[in-house]
């Protein structure tokens, strides 16, 4: 019954997006859980801190990713894993938009290629400007 309603060409895109989302959330969950466990071993509690070390302060998302991957500003492994988990989570919808652009370009669907490209540009600009 279900297969009757799938049928259309978009099913490949939907399958790709659902895999991408599930991989993104599971991977981020694992990194965040490791971060939380290491945090407990480092600080001997799971209290919410208002300390400078737990606050993110970067020019924009992309510079935040670059400095994290270069290992700058992060000395504690718990903070590093928590940060990597959040980067994975935040990147997931962005990669989803890129996947859609690639799919519609591959399918030569100009209508939706322009539409998704527009969204990707807007999103990239907003992530770069702040």
């Amino acid at each position: 019954m279900k297969s009757d309603i799938i049928g259309s060409g978009e099913s490949k895109l939907e399958t790709a997006i659902s895999y991408l989302l599930i991989i993104g959330v599971i991977f981020s969950l694992i990194l965040e859980a490791i971060g939380l466990t290491l945090f407990y071993y480092s600080f001997a509690n799971l209290n919410i801190l208002e300390n400078e070390v737990v606050f993110i302060r970067e020019e924009n998302f992309f510079s935040f990713v670059i400095t994290t991957l270069q290992g700058e500003n992060i000395q504690n492994s718990a903070i590093l894993f928590m940060t990597l988990g959040l980067i994975t989570l935040i990147s997931t919808p962005y990669i989803r938009v890129i996947t859609s652009v690639i799919y519609f370009a591959w399918e030569k669907n100009r209508k939706y290629l322009l539409l998704t490209l527009f969204v990707l540009i807007i999103l990239t600009v907003s992530l770069t400007l702040h």
Partner: protein, 276 residues
């Protein structure tokens, strides 16, 4: 004092409700965080991550089951993203007070014909306007609660796009996900079935929150010890909600949506009155 374990458990519940209603959950999470002693700006900034977590967790199931209409989502994302950026830019020019009342008034339209809206079955529009047809905005999904295939045609694409632009504007100006607004536009303007509207809103809201969270990277308000438990909890809640939605009857979802929407309307009116 709030600790990470308590926050994680709260976020599971919020993520679950957010996934079922398509509301993202920030409007529930922020007042709880503020009540438990977290500074309001920090609560707003960090809750954006919870929205992304709920959205991605829930959407992974919704997209696979074809409840989310990906084409409708991509068309509407154009309007919400532009609205969100303009909203964030004009916050200092236009007083948000007008938006609080406008937002509350619009959400109140969900309660028109309250009894009918709870009990009625979905009826798809027979005709589509030219733009909706050109954009191929139609679809079908298998409803597990009804054990039948529901086919639908989306209508009034341009008006729906305008509604989404205003939802994006509200999200950018007020620092919210505006999920309630998005679901209401999809149901009342675009004439989509409730489950498809919730699932498609869950899909869109992650992208709106992504644009929203970018504002906060330079603000120093993003607290890792707040965001990590919220992200874990909301992801788990979203994943579970994503697997439950299709098994629930429309009546239950509609009641849940209206209850949460009522709470949001009260919040909006309170904020509007307080800022006079």
């Amino acid at each position: 004092m709030l600790d990470m374990v308590t926050l994680l458990l709260i976020s599971i519940i919020v993520g679950f409700i957010g996934a079922l209603t398509g509301l993202g959950g920030a409007s529930i999470l922020i007042p709880i965080l503020v009540f438990l002693g977290i500074p309001v700006k920090e609560a707003i900034a960090s809750s954006m991550v919870a929205i992304i977590a709920t959205s991605s967790g829930a959407a992974s199931s919704f997209v696979r089951e074809r409840i989310t209409n990906v084409k409708v989502a991509m068309y509407l994302e154009m309007f919400t993203s532009v609205g969100a950026i303009i909203g964030a830019t004009i916050t200092t020019i236009v007083a948000p007070i007008f938006l609080y009342f406008f937002f509350a008034a619009f959400l109140l339209t969900s309660f028109i014909k309250f009894k009918d809206s709870i009990s009625r079955s979905y009826v798809s529009p027979k005709k589509q306007d030219k733009l909706s047809r050109w954009l191929e905005l139609q679809g079908s999904y298998f409803d597990k609660a009804k054990n039948q295939v529901i086919e639908y045609k989306v209508n009034h694409a341009l008006l729906g796009g305008l509604g989404m632009f205003i939802a994006g504007l509200a999200a950018g100006m007020l620092g919210i996900g505006a999920g309630a607004f998005k679901v209401t536009v999809q149901e009342n303007v675009l004439k989509m079935p409730s489950k498809v509207a919730s699932a498609t809103s869950d899909f869109i809201i992650g992208m709106t929150a992504l644009a929203g969270v970018s504002v906060y990277f330079s603000s120093g308000l993003l607290n890792l010890t707040l965001m990590t438990p919220m992200a874990i909890g909301a992801t788990i809640g979203g994943l579970v909600g994503g697997r439950v939605l299709n098994k629930l009857h429309g009546k239950v979802l509609r009641m849940l949506f209206l209850t949460v929407t009522f709470l949001i309307v009260v919040q909006m009116l309170y904020k509007g009155i307080m800022s006079i």
